[in-house]
């Protein structure tokens, strides 16, 4: 099995996919760092201060104004209300939610890339790992060795998991080292609040806990990794089912984008919560952002993702070991 994984790694590295992904992440991180830097500068000019308390106060006033506007929808109003309460909580407890520094940037970057960006990068590798063997015809050589088919597929899947872990690690590493150049590398111990829960009555702060940023980041990484594995497994399944890499990628891309759109639209269509793609924003639960559909919780979303993952894996192995190769 080790030798098979070695083989898959050799092919993956020779295709230079990981390098391309690292470059893309690097460029994006640099862009975001610059954008964040500009944003900070603008705020400083506008408010004439560096003090985060003034900034948050300003944000709260801003939000209050918007809530009292009659043109705003009820739903949006509720979301604003929650955000406002959160900000108030930060202010009351004297905690800076966006403590400057590379770890904070990394956290924000992860939270914003969990839904689309990281899954996209994972998809680039996963959707081609099996189907490229078909399109090149090398599958005929691969499956006529004295190695059972499920072992061949398992070696590919393990390789995929390694590659995904590597992508998540690269994303963390690059976002830390690049943004640190501008914001500094400190801030691991900054306090972060978690445990907000959204109920019918609004924001519930009863179970809010204060933890160090590095602990929070560790959880974030875990969630990002989980989402990446699930998306990777589903792309992997498509790669087994569909011979054309482009078609497989297209399907997955459509699903991911549909998820991003649906999350903003489907609050009244309740059964949409069983789609894997509306459950990808796991980090939102940690921040106390309201879920796209009422009643969704972290454990619910993880359960849904787990079921999709298991189904994807089962279909992949079942089809791959049974199907005739032409």
């Amino acid at each position: 099995m080790n030798k098979l994984i070695q083989n898959e790694m050799m092919k993956l590295i020779a295709k230079k996919r990981l390098v391309v992904i690292a470059i893309i992440i690097g460029i994006l991180v640099a862009l975001f760092t610059y954008a964040q830097f500009k944003e900070n500068e603008r705020q400083r000019e506008k408010l004439g201060t560096d003090d985060w308390r003034t900034i948050i106060q300003q944000t709260i006033i801003d939000q209050q104004n918007r809530i009292s506007s009659p043109r705003i929808s009820d739903e949006w109003k509720q979301q604003l209300q929650i955000a406002l309460q959160q900000n108030q909580y930060y202010l009351d407890h004297d905690i800076n939610p966006s403590e400057p520094g590379a770890p904070t940037f990394m956290r924000i970057f992860l939270e914003n890339s969990i839904e689309l960006f990281i899954p996209l990068m994972v998809m680039v590798i996963a959707s081609d790992i099996v189907s490229s063997e078909h399109s090149q015809g090398s599958i005929k050589l691969l499956l006529t060795r004295p190695v059972k088919r499920w072992k061949v597929l398992l070696s590919k899947y393990i390789t995929l998991i390694l590659a995904i872990s590597l992508i998540v690690a690269i994303a963390g590493l690059l976002s830390y080292s690049i943004s640190g150049l501008v914001f500094g590398y400190k801030g691991w111990g900054a306090p972060v609040l978690t445990g907000f829960s959204v109920t019918d009555a609004g924001l519930n702060t009863a179970s809010v806990k204060l933890i160090d940023q590095w602990q929070f980041l560790l959880m974030d990484f875990g969630l990002v990794w989980l989402v990446a594995i699930v998306v990777g497994t589903l792309s992997f399944m498509l790669s087994v089912l569909i011979r054309s890499t482009a078609a497989g990628m297209g399907v997955m891309l459509a699903a991911l984008i549909a998820g991003a759109i649906l999350s903003n639209m489907v609050s009244s269509w309740e059964s949409a919560k069983y789609f894997f793609m509306v459950n990808l924003k796991l980090t939102n639960y940690m921040n106390g952002n309201p879920p796209p559909i009422e009643g969704m919780t972290l454990s619910f979303s993880m359960m849904v993702l787990l079921i999709w993952w298991a189904a994807g894996l089962f279909v992949s192995f079942y089809v791959f070991t049974k199907k005739d190769v032409y």
């Binding site: 098979l4 083989n7 020779a14 015809g137 190769v325």
Partner: protein, 303 residues
């Protein structure tokens, strides 16, 4: 020489409701080159894909080196090397890395064997170049090197000369003969090129519409069907005389073809001479497989 290395018994494949392969049986012996001949669409490739484990047979059995390939896939495949259609190796890897890749999938095959097969197919100078820079002939040779890695008893080559130039075809032919005669491999070669099979194979199975029409040695198949070609003057008179003795066939180039029989042919010649027909040309002709094939299959091509 009589050891059976691959045996196929009553092999069938049904796709949808259509029976593509309708019960094929044959055996390969050690050290022989076996030809698998049929028009495009006759079921050659489907059969070969079943032999190498890419397609599951609907019924029937395949044994390689004594192992059933469905029940003992790994053991059976250890004795098999194959190229199905083109040798599609990884273009972004070097030739060496490709061989390394496939060697890792075999037990106990290391660098020494890799350099052995590289030497054997004569790719030593280019083995560390990327496969995408190889010519078709070199890819074909690398494909064979890959197939030989595991010291197989049976080598299956699907259309091995496809796309090669005449020199490449000749080289490939000599190499395949070498493998069978010197290394004692059984080689199964499929082709739709009859001349190819005729020059290369010891025995041949002719397949059409999913069934084997006949299996025999190439010599046997051909010698039963030797013909005599005549040219004489005057033509009309000769035709009259010869036509009264046996069935004749006239060609457009003015030659007459009859069956061949050692005694009778001399007799006919005498009769012609006695009737004052001057025989200007008379030779024995081995039929090419082409004629034979058309005769056997009744001229149909694809179902």
């Amino acid at each position: 020489m009589e050891n059976i290395t691959l045996s196929v018994h009553n092999l069938k494949k049904v796709i949808g409701k259509k029976e593509i392969i309708k019960g094929i049986s044959f055996e390969l012996r050690e050290g022989e080159v076996f030809g698998f001949l049929g028009p495009n669409g006759a079921g050659k490739t489907t059969t070969i894909r079943m032999l190498v484990g890419l397609i599951k047979p609907t019924s029937g059995s395949i044994h390689i080196g004594g192992y059933n390939i469905v029940d003992h896939f790994e053991e059976a495949m250890k004795h098999l090397g194959c190229i199905v259609e083109n040798p599609e190796l990884y273009p972004y890897l070097s030739g060496y890395d490709n061989l390394l890749h496939f060697a890792r999938m075999l037990d106990g095959i290391g660098e020494q064997r890799i350099s052995e097969v590289t030497e054997l197919v004569g790719l030593r100078d280019r083995i560390h170049d990327k496969v995408k820079t190889y010519s078709l002939g070199m890819r074909q040779r690398l494909g064979i090197a890959q197939a030989l890695l595991g010291r197989p008893k049976v080598l299956i080559l699907d259309e091995p000369t496809n796309g090669l130039d005449p020199a490449g075809i000749r080289e490939m032919r000599e190499f395949i003969r070498f493998l069978a005669e010197e290394e004692g491999l059984s080689v199964l070669v499929s082709s739709h090129l009859l001349s190819e099979i005729q020059l290369l194979c010891d025995r041949v199975a002719i397949i059409s519409r999913g069934t084997v029409i006949t299996t025999d040695t190439v010599d046997n198949l051909l010698s039963n069907r030797e013909r005599v070609v005549w040219r004489f003057h005057p033509l009309e008179k000769g035709k009259e005389v010869l036509g009264s003795l046996t069935a004749i066939e006239e060609r457009e180039d003015g030659t007459i073809t009859t069956e061949y029989d050692e005694i009778k042919t001399a007799e006919w010649n005498k009769k012609l001479v006695e009737a004052e027909v001057s025989v200007t040309e008379m030779y024995r002709k081995m039929p090419v497989l082409e004629d034979l094939f058309l005769e056997l299959t009744g001229g149909d091509s694809i179902e």
